[in-house]
């Protein structure tokens, strides 16, 4: 046989042989693989992992940092198929109760019972959102709610004052008063997507008395309250919102507020730390208030990025040890001392807000974040009871698709391509199909 043919065959054989080589783990030591999102706080954790490894000889932690969409796809396929590629996963508050109920995650309740960890220090609404039937399936790394952020200079110039707990009517009146050709009164997300437009809009719907589903999983998308809330949102954007709202989400509104193109913004509380950053043009000029309300006492949403241990990991003991370290009080001290107090992960532990250095570094936004996050109720955020735990989302697998489809319809209404009634009538049919799957 010709040598070249032999060489080609050899390449094929080597490639196929390589396939059957099973990856060997180094003996003795445990290497934990942690899948996480590319957020600053997670990267801080990666930069501090050496402290954990030094205190726990024999355990190494390998970070796999991914973009949010990639993380969701990679972790969902891995955990749902019990593939075991990851020992620790970073997942959102939306996934935890569903995956916990499916038996995909380790029940952490017994492991968190020790006094030193102080599980009772975790903000109660956050803990509730991560538990199913009294079992806690994840620990919060950091959390956020939604608040109203406004440029005091712009509002003061027009003689507008806002209370600490404003109503939507007050906010709408203020937005209209400060609205001008140069500066829009308020920025609200209009980009279609369950995590974009519907994050703030669902909280507006809830405080107007609406909900996605009632206790029987009957959809309520075209109910009078839901319709009233969406109409209010659309009218406010038309009267005093940013131009072309359907292309605006978190980042666009953040830039608009920083550059003085809008006077107010209702969005995630984590934005406050960016508005108060040293390089922010509006640092020290901002005011913060609770999420605006109508019929409820609070209307803020609740989100947390959490660490969980897949049920089938081979390294459960080491994995639990790491996630307890990364969400402990000591870790918050470590971040503060090594990286800076303003970088301490917010919205997870009550005690964080008692650290003097943190209180000083985050004076502008820490008190309001704690107030709102302690006050929201993920079990019943609206006027009526709901059959799931969660605020700005419905904790069922179908919601991503339902939310995206209805968000597109509502975005069309905001852009004037259809009416609110037409959009919500179509949305009702979509939501009901998903609700039917959960009827008992």
């Amino acid at each position: 046989m010709n040598n070249k043919v032999k060489a080609l065959i050899a390449v094929v054989v080597v490639a196929i042989a390589g396939v059957v080589v099973v990856q060997q783990r180094s003996g003795g030591d445990v290497t934990l693989t942690l899948a996480t999102v590319n957020n600053g706080q997670m990267k801080d954790m990666e930069s501090l992992k050496g402290e954990f490894e030094a205190a726990n000889p024999g355990i190494k932690v390998n970070f796999q940092v991914m973009e949010e969409g990639d993380l969701r796809s990679a972790v969902t396929s891995d955990v749902a198929n019990k593939a075991g590629q990851y020992d620790i996963v970073t997942i959102g508050a939306y996934e935890v109760p569903q995956w916990g109920a499916n038996g995909w995650l380790t029940d952490l309740t017994p492991d968190l019972a020790d006094k030193a960890y102080d599980v009772g220090d975790i903000l109660p609404p956050v803990k509730d959102a991560l538990s199913v039937n009294g079992k806690q399936y994840a620990v919060p790394f950091y959390g956020e709610s939604s608040i109203l952020m406004y440029n005091k200079e712009i509002l003061d110039a027009k003689g507008v004052k806002l209370s600490n707990n404003p109503t939507w009517n007050e906010v709408a009146a203020a937005a209209k008063k400060v609205n001008s050709a140069k500066t829009a009164g308020i920025c609200l997300r209009g980009k279609p997507g369950w995590g974009d437009l519907f994050a703030p809009l669902t909280t507006v719907v809830q405080t107007f008395g609406g909900t996605w589903y009632d206790m029987n999983w009957d959809a309520k998308v075209n109910s009078p309250e839901f319709t009233q809330a969406v109409t209010f949102y659309k009218d406010l954007l038309a009267a005093a919102g940013e131009k072309d709202p359907v292309s605006y989400s978190f980042n666009e509104c953040l830039t608009a507020l920083k550059t003085g193109k809008v006077a107010m913004w209702y969005d995630a509380s984590v934005a406050a730390s960016m508005l108060e950053a040293d390089d922010s043009p509006v640092k020290g000029k901002m005011g913060y208030a609770h999420a605006p309300v109508v019929k409820t006492k609070e209307a803020g949403w609740l989100w947390s990025w959490n660490l969980a241990v897949p049920a089938n990991t081979q390294n459960k003991e080491a994995a639990v040890k790491f996630i307890k370290w990364a969400t402990s009080k000591d870790y918050h001290q470590l971040v503060g001392k090594k990286l800076g107090w303003s970088l301490v992960p917010p919205g997870a532990r009550t005690s964080t807000y008692s650290i003097p250095e943190y209180k000083e570094a985050a004076a502008a936004y820490a008190p309001i974040t704690l107030e709102v996050m302690s006050a929201v109720n993920p079990k019943q955020p609206g006027v009526n009871p709901q059959p799931w735990v969660g605020i700005q989302y419905v904790a069922i697998p179908e919601f991503q698709d339902v939310g995206n489809q209805v968000a597109q319809l509502v975005a069309d209404a905001i852009a004037g391509r259809t009416t609110v009634k037409e959009a919500l009538d179509k949305g009702q049919v979509i939501a009901q199909a998903a609700g039917d799957a959960h009827k008992k």
Partner: protein, 270 residues
Amino acid sequence: MRSTKARLITGMTWIIAVTYFFPVAWMFINSFKTENDAASLTPKFIFTPTLEGFSRLGERGMSNYLTNSLMASVVSTALVLALSIPAAYALSIRPIHKVQDALFFFISTRFMPAAASILPLFIIFKNLHVLDNIFALSLVYAAMNLPIAIWMMRSFLSEVPHEVIEASRIDGADFETELWSVVLPIVLPGIAAVALICFIFSWNEYFFSVLLTSANAKTTPPFLASFVDGRGQFLAVLSAASTVAALPVILAGWFAQKQLVRGLAMGAVK
């Protein structure tokens, strides 16, 4: 008039070329800036260059990801060439029955979007215990590139004059001699073109790498995305990483430029 038209065309060509090239050049420039310079709201053209971004790549272990990308690209490209040349041979120079049906079958394997095949692939990989295995990922890349390679190789082989092949057969050349000494030297530029395209496709592949690998076999493209940071201080290091990631493909294209142009033109002229 003619000269004005020619100047206009030349001008337009320059504008288009610069428009296409500018983002790449800007990425390259940013890779030598500090994070503050790179994130500056007013673009900075004059700055003190630094290698800070590149040094941070080493700290994040980029060489492992580059090695994985290289392994996956080389192994899959070698496999594709090893399989596509004989397949194309059987579809052009020594045609089998129903050539058109066979060609349609090959290309039909690309009709299904990758997203539709990922779950079955994931389960197969899991059951074979080859998740996070670079050789298994290489097989997927080879399968992904094989149809296009067969189609390209077939069009290149069809360009080989029959008279040359017949003459070699009359001179007593057997199949191996015909393939190695007559046909392949003629289509070498075409093989280079196929190899480079397969290499680029594998090098840049993102979707399968994200889902089928984790700690040991992750390739460069998903690693690049990990540099994006909500706090905004990531442009310089991301540009440095992207520059390093783009370099092998640019260099390969540069060196094989002449072969590539000849190769890609082969199938175009009948």
